[in-house]
Symmetry: C2
Amino acid sequence: MKHHQITIVDIAKQLNTSKSTVSRALTGHPKVSPEKRKAILDLAHKLDYQKNLIALSLVKRKTNTIGVIVPEFSNSFFPHVVMAVQKIASQNGYSVIISQSDECYETEVENARVMLANHVDGLLVSISKQTTDFEHFKVFERKGIPLVFFNRICNEMQVPKIIVDDRHGAFQAVEHLIKIGKKRIAHLAGPQCLLIGQNRMNGYLDAMKKYDIPVDEELIKVCDLTVPVIKDSVNALMDMKQPPDGLFAFNDPTAIEAIRVVKSRGFKIPDDIAIAGFSNEYVSSFVEPSLTTVAQPIDEIGRCATNALFEQMKRDVSEWKAVTNVLNTELIIRNSTLSDIKP
Amino acid sequence: MKHHQITIVDIAKQLNTSKSTVSRALTGHPKVSPEKRKAILDLAHKLDYQKNLIALSLVKRKTNTIGVIVPEFSNSFFPHVVMAVQKIASQNGYSVIISQSDECYETEVENARVMLANHVDGLLVSISKQTTDFEHFKVFERKGIPLVFFNRICNEMQVPKIIVDDRHGAFQAVEHLIKIGKKRIAHLAGPQCLLIGQNRMNGYLDAMKKYDIPVDEELIKVCDLTVPVIKDSVNALMDMKQPPDGLFAFNDPTAIEAIRVVKSRGFKIPDDIAIAGFSNEYVSSFVEPSLTTVAQPIDEIGRCATNALFEQMKRDVSEWKAVTNVLNTELIIRNSTLSDIKP
DNA sequence: CCACGCATAGGGAACGTTCCCATACTATTT
DNA sequence: AAATAGTATGGGAACGTTCCCTATGCGTGG
């Protein structure tokens, strides 16, 4: 015994009218007599009638759904961005389909395929650390589906991008390390295929250059964001004859892992080595010592990206804009770079 | 100039065949000649053909989508559960629509409405702290759409439920406080409309009873999970003539807030007051002192809930089961209840 | 009294797919 | 050689909605 869904045809039959009239009444079309409208609305309510958005999507060729592809949910950054996205989307009557690439290229391609098959009206993407080919996103452009990158962007595509000023943020963090008197400053760099990896490294180099500190290649370790590699890198740094007295990490999870290693080896933070991260994860204010970091305007990133997407969706393909929106970062100084700890 | 979507009809026309044959070739139906199949598959690939899942959903009356409604994403618990859900869903060829109620009843009702309109094939729910009426979920039962509650459940509905043994977990935490010698143990309780609020309170009472410690009503403060209320409650406790020497909090964020207040007033943890939480948030191992807490099997909750939902979806409405799956918790002892801190 | 305008209502195509049924053709069996 | 079985193919309904087009009925002005 199949469950029958109530449709406008059912309502029409019961009221001896046509599905056209019922449709008009339900969508608030003016040309329908008040009595009939009331009868239809009442019956619809009584029967728990729910418009079938699937059918509507088919005929309108528009799903009122946007997709979001992010690398992962394990840190606080992306869930918080998604929160902001969902808020704006639902204000505009849109649903959100979220998927995670798990930092894996193949999964990302599959995610994109699912988004396409589900006919999202627009897509927000922050790419995985493995992604270097963008064919799976270019399909969207060809099909006329707007795309907006945020945080981790694709440079070779002409679409709106929301990023923070990673280079300047990194510069600020390293400058701060220099200003508190550190000389040998190491950098745990992120994947260099990610633009943010390059930019944060460049910020590091900018600061070193500005203060005439020679860059020691040995002090720059490119990591892939996995715990074992971070551990090895930090151990290698601290094993040096002249270990670093300052450390700027690609992001907070990396910095926190570095803190763990450094502490377990008996070094004092920040006196032996001062450490700074990037992204101001929720957890960063809680670690011991609390982590100096570069904060990103998470809500604003989500809002800007979603708004940019909706703007794009309103426009015809021929009028698509490709502005890159660079948001400001803020250096947050905490105990991992402050020697006089207040209670 | 509208963007035209490639359909099976386009492919059929180009190859002088019918849409039926194209459909068969694309779905892997056996009765199609090898040459024709190859020609169709090749052309489909060449044209970037993407099956329209919307049309498919309409004809199959099945969307291959499940919905998830959670209270919020601001802590790590729900995002991690959602990760597990998505993993299993995508393994089964299902997409996931996620929405947050923001702990607000009205938003939850709206979320449920959207899920219904999008015709999800099943729904996973953890209710908001305000929810006491369940009409918006009962509609799903009436429409034959399976529903599974997890973590924060609805007792009055006969559907599968995945919970942890909150009562026993709370008991373990409080027993631990008693065993390390604490006598005046306070409880920062959660909303009593939530079953987990009641159960954790009961676990607290169980432990007190077992060890013949009289319960002082003044030591039980019901909170609503907002920071100001937690602060006030903790301050009130510490202002008492005889302040508590142990504290069991409804969840980790509450416990962490309590740690902040207690520390800022100059009390020593755990010597003056030992503190335990519930849920083992990611952040809890990083706070100073690290927090003793009751861990929930996050992945398992997500997996069990999703599997239960898929089981239910396979069955006819008349054969729906309503088993409640109670998962075990684990007490994790950290420095907030350990006086001899190792380096 | 008839033509006309206007308001309301109904019929039916369209959206893109699947799947049942019918048809045409080929191969097998008696 | 004819009947039969089987195979590949095409036609068309169905899913639930919107919206264009047409029909009906009514009142009004010439």
